[in-house]
């Protein structure tokens, strides 16, 4: 896929594609969607524990990205991927809180003692078990674990997306991963282990 002036869109960075999109290039949105939509969708679906809701949030976040295109600075500090994860994180938290599925934040975010996932791990399927275990984590732990271990963001990128400090990210990801493992430990059969 090439730009209107013939250069290869696939070789361009996301920020440059955003500027091309704002300038009316028809191919820029397709490349950006191919790169960014899977990330937004996985982030939203894993945090919400629901594929359909994940799709809604991912679509809304991408729409906001398109609308932000006109003001995007190609050489600005914001990276489209990090910006998008920040939007997804906020939209997902809004949904969790409105639906009453939120695990309250605060000091518990940094605690090791995640509630047991036993009652939530009845569904068959490894991804269902993962979602159920993730649901037992406080919101920010859940977001941090998903962004670090599934989306592969660096700690500074996660800090920017979640609007917290880098040290807090390190704590959240470490404790979150420990809590997640503990939550899954009793469900080896559902996960296909130890058979």
């Amino acid at each position: 896929m090439t730009t209107q002036d013939g250069s290869d869109l696939e070789t361009l960075e996301d920020g440059a594609l955003m500027v091309l999109f704002a300038n009316g290039d028809p191919g820029a949105a397709r490349v950006l969607t191919k790169r960014l939509l899977p990330r937004a969708f996985r982030h939203a679906a894993r945090v919400l524990g629901d594929q359909a809701e994940g799709e809604d949030v991912a679509q809304e976040a991408m729409l906001r990205l398109w609308k932000a295109g006109a003001d995007w600075q190609a050489d600005g500090a914001a990276k489209p991927a990090t910006w998008l994860h920040k939007v997804v994180a906020n939209l997902a938290i809004d949904r969790l809180r409105k639906s009453g599925r939120s695990v309250e934040l605060g000091d518990d975010d940094f605690a090791d003692d995640a509630p047991t996932a036993d009652a939530q791990l009845q569904d068959a399927g490894r991804m269902s078990a993962l979602d159920a275990a993730l649901r037992t984590l406080p919101e920010r732990q859940r977001q941090a674990v998903v962004l670090r271990h599934i989306e592969g963001l660096s700690n500074p990128e996660i800090a920017e997306a979640l609007e917290i400090g880098v040290e807090a990210v390190e704590s959240l990801t470490a404790r979150g991963k420990r809590a997640l493992k503990a939550a899954l430990e009793g469900q080896k059969e559902a996960l296909g282990y130890g058979t």
């Binding site: 009316g24 949105a29 939509l37």
Partner: protein, 123 residues
């Protein structure tokens, strides 16, 4: 995918599986449709003719005086007059380097016409 059969949950393998999740084609199509709509709207806004600028009353007033050039000239003359009025006459005289009339100086500039009226010693 190969599953471990040991006693530890392999979180990394689980995360790797989660990374394989992909959005549906339908979602991809909806997102691209949104992008096209936003892009079309932006292009339409950019292509629309700019609304005619309404001329303010100040601009009309300035034009009635002959434009900003005239206003500038009148203003400069006003400022000059004001400054002449504010400074003492001696200061102005210093600046001009010329004599000026002072109130204390009396000049008899009326010609003596008594000679025309008298006849001999009679007046």
């Amino acid at each position: 995918m190969a599953r471990e059969t040991d006693t530890d949950v392999d979180l990394d393998a689980l995360f790797a599986e989660a990374r394989e999740d992909a959005p549906s084609d339908a979602l991809m199509a909806r997102v691209l449709a949104d992008a096209d709509a936003v892009q079309a709207e932006a292009v339409a806004v950019a292509a629309a003719p700019a609304p005619a600028r309404r001329r303010g009353w100040v601009a009309g007033l300035v034009e009635s005086f002959g434009g900003w050039g005239t206003i500038g000239g009148v203003t400069a003359a006003g400022v000059m007059g004001l400054s002449l009025g504010l400074y003492a006459p001696t200061t102005v005289a210093d600046i001009l380097g010329a004599e000026t009339l002072g109130l204390e100086t009396a000049y008899d500039i009326t010609p003596d016409m008594t000679g025309l009226w008298g006849e001999g010693d009679d007046v």
